[in-house]
Subunit: 364 residues, 2 copies
């Protein structure tokens, strides 16, 4: 094994002796390209080619390099690669709330897709008071190759995200509206609100309350718009209310709201059905109903919930295939990263009504 080079400056920290370290892990930490090169009796360039570049190396040499790499347990230092290449093999994911299964199911899909492609996933939380910008900056300073943004109810990110999308691929999930600057994957929110409302109306309900988080949640606003349209077309007066954005207060507020609207002296004689506009609110309302013992209120919601089939009262739901949303978001993102330059794509996943007992008009 020729060893023409004096093995460029054995790095000081607890380094092995000079010249040719046969197999010994050079430094305290991980083996480097140079370590592998030395072990294989070749140069770093060649090792790099064999391990990543692919073409143009003799079979015999390539095999020697691979053996050495294996033996030393070599794996690439991403920082160095990224610094050199300019873009990290990592994507960023900005989520509104990790504790809500909807978002968890999105990350799970995105992580899977990233893993398959050898990409890492850096996450950041964009909910509860943290601005989009504050949430995303840490990802940018890591040179992520692209971004999945799922901050559905977090606010109106148009401005900042538009600027961002000009610099790197961005896919929005559960996006408030089809934005012109980046790909989006989501449902038809307005249709969702309308469908559920029409379902309730078709079963005899007249006093249906729409409950959302707050007016700043664009997704929810669209769903409400659908609800209101359906109500008005049926000659009914829409009625909606908000529970706010704080997870810790959601259930309490739901209790208050339901008390008010089911009381004997409630405006219009009290509601017979509730329509929830978003997952966290759905949970809060369910807990509140259980606590208040409201067993004869029809209940429908846009997002399906894990375990919702065990809820009481039964929850009628407009199920969206969240796994498909997450998977498609990842596919679109990686297509962009791989150079896809088509105009922004806006995908809608289909909705499926799952009726669980909101059918019967409860006894008055």
């Amino acid at each position: 094994m020729a060893d023409p080079v004096v093995r460029s400056a054995p790095p000081a920290p607890s380094s092995a002796p000079s010249s040719a370290p046969p197999t010994a892990p050079a430094r305290a930490g991980r083996a480097t390209l140079v370590d592998v090169a030395a072990a294989a009796g070749t140069s770093a360039s060649t090792v790099s080619r064999v391990l990543h570049g692919g073409a143009g190396v003799t079979d015999e040499l390539a095999e020697r390099v691979r053996a050495a790499a294996r033996e030393l347990g070599y794996s690439v230092n991403r920082q160095a690669r990224t610094l050199r290449r300019g873009k990290d093999t990592a994507i960023g994911v900005a989520l509104e709330d990790f504790t809500i299964p909807f978002f968890g199911r999105i990350v799970a899909q995105v992580e899977q897709a990233a893993h398959e492609r050898g990409y890492g996933v850096v996450i950041t939380c964009a909910g509860s008071g943290r601005s989009e910008e504050e949430a995303v900056e840490p990802l940018l300073s890591r040179s992520v190759a692209g971004l999945v943004v799922a901050t559905g109810t977090a606010g109106a990110p148009e401005g900042y995200l538009a600027a961002l999308a000009a610099e790197l691929p961005v896919v929005q999930v559960d996006a408030p509206s089809a934005s012109s600057h980046s790909d989006t994957v989501g449902i038809d929110n307005e249709a969702a609100g309308r469908l559920l409302t029409e379902h309730l109306l078709a079963h005899g309900h007249r006093r249906v309350l729409f409950v959302g988080s707050g007016p700043a949640a664009t997704t929810v606003q669209l769903r409400r718009r659908g609800y209101e349209a359906a109500m008005r077309e049926a000659g009914l007066e829409p009625l909606s209310t908000w529970l706010g954005y704080l997870p810790s207060e959601t259930t309490e507020r739901a209790v208050d709201v339901l008390r008010e609207h089911t009381a004997s002296g409630a405006p219009g004689g009290g509601i017979t059905a509730v329509l929830s506009g978003v997952a966290r609110v759905t949970m809060g309302l369910a807990s509140a109903m259980a606590r208040l013992g409201l067993r004869d209120l029809a209940y429908a919601a846009v997002d399906d919930l894990a375990g919702a089939d065990a809820f009481s009262p039964p929850l009628t739901v407009l199920e969206q295939d969240v796994e498909v949303m997450g998977a498609r978001a990842a596919e679109l993102l990686f297509a962009r990263i791989d150079g896809d330059r088509r105009p922004p794509v806006h995908e809608r996943v289909p909705l499926r009504l799952i009726v669980r007992g909101s059918g019967e008009l409860p006894p008055r």
Copy 2:
């Protein structure tokens, strides 16, 4: 303001700087240290000191540097810093399953703690067939400064994690057992199984079925051990079964199991109570009960579930403060990263019994 340097090559995308530019990866947007130095009429060293090192720079110069940095929208390139320093300002989080709120609540806390300290969070999924090693390697190749591992039911990671913990700080959450090599945060699993069983027994139940995911889930095994001890001490025969590790099959299997054990001809006359050993199983059992209309089966579970208070039948639960678990895990990890060299710490978070209707022995 002197400007001694020719302002090293205003980085127009793929511009050709002064001397020898054989290699110039086209860098899109971000300003570099050198850009800031040029703008402030000083050197990169000084800019670095002002922005991060802190001490030893004239106020006047420092201010000029900060102004320039602000103006250029400078933020540090993490790759370069990490490459230079050796350790990334990022931590890794390996989770079993993102879609289960338990894990989501852990990440949420860890992410918050990391964000406060200027650390990034790289995630990886260690569930469903992916080995610990395969899951963690991508994090190591990014030089994360430490690792939070929450793979409760994923298997027996002792060997690999022990080796890992020798190289960088690792904190295990919901750990199968107090391991000697790394910090752990969790509950007393055996006590948990025992407590819930004793609760059911105290209310007259004699035929209690324990349901877990599978024998490889160490956490669940410990909970089952507590259940069995309590049963035996009461002179009763333990009875347990598994639903397997596949999320997609959990509910189906739960239906089968419940059918079998509540049938008229069931061994011993059929069960009156079910004890679930882990969150996913709890969900599956709840759905199965709803589907089978089993309204008079007492139901208890170790993990609390979001929305569990709306379940039917009511779910008695041993609540663990998951937020505290996540927060403590992060604190322990950052203490280690900051140089804490105490022997491994094993923290237990307290358990709280939340009784929701499993009290009454159902009518026979």
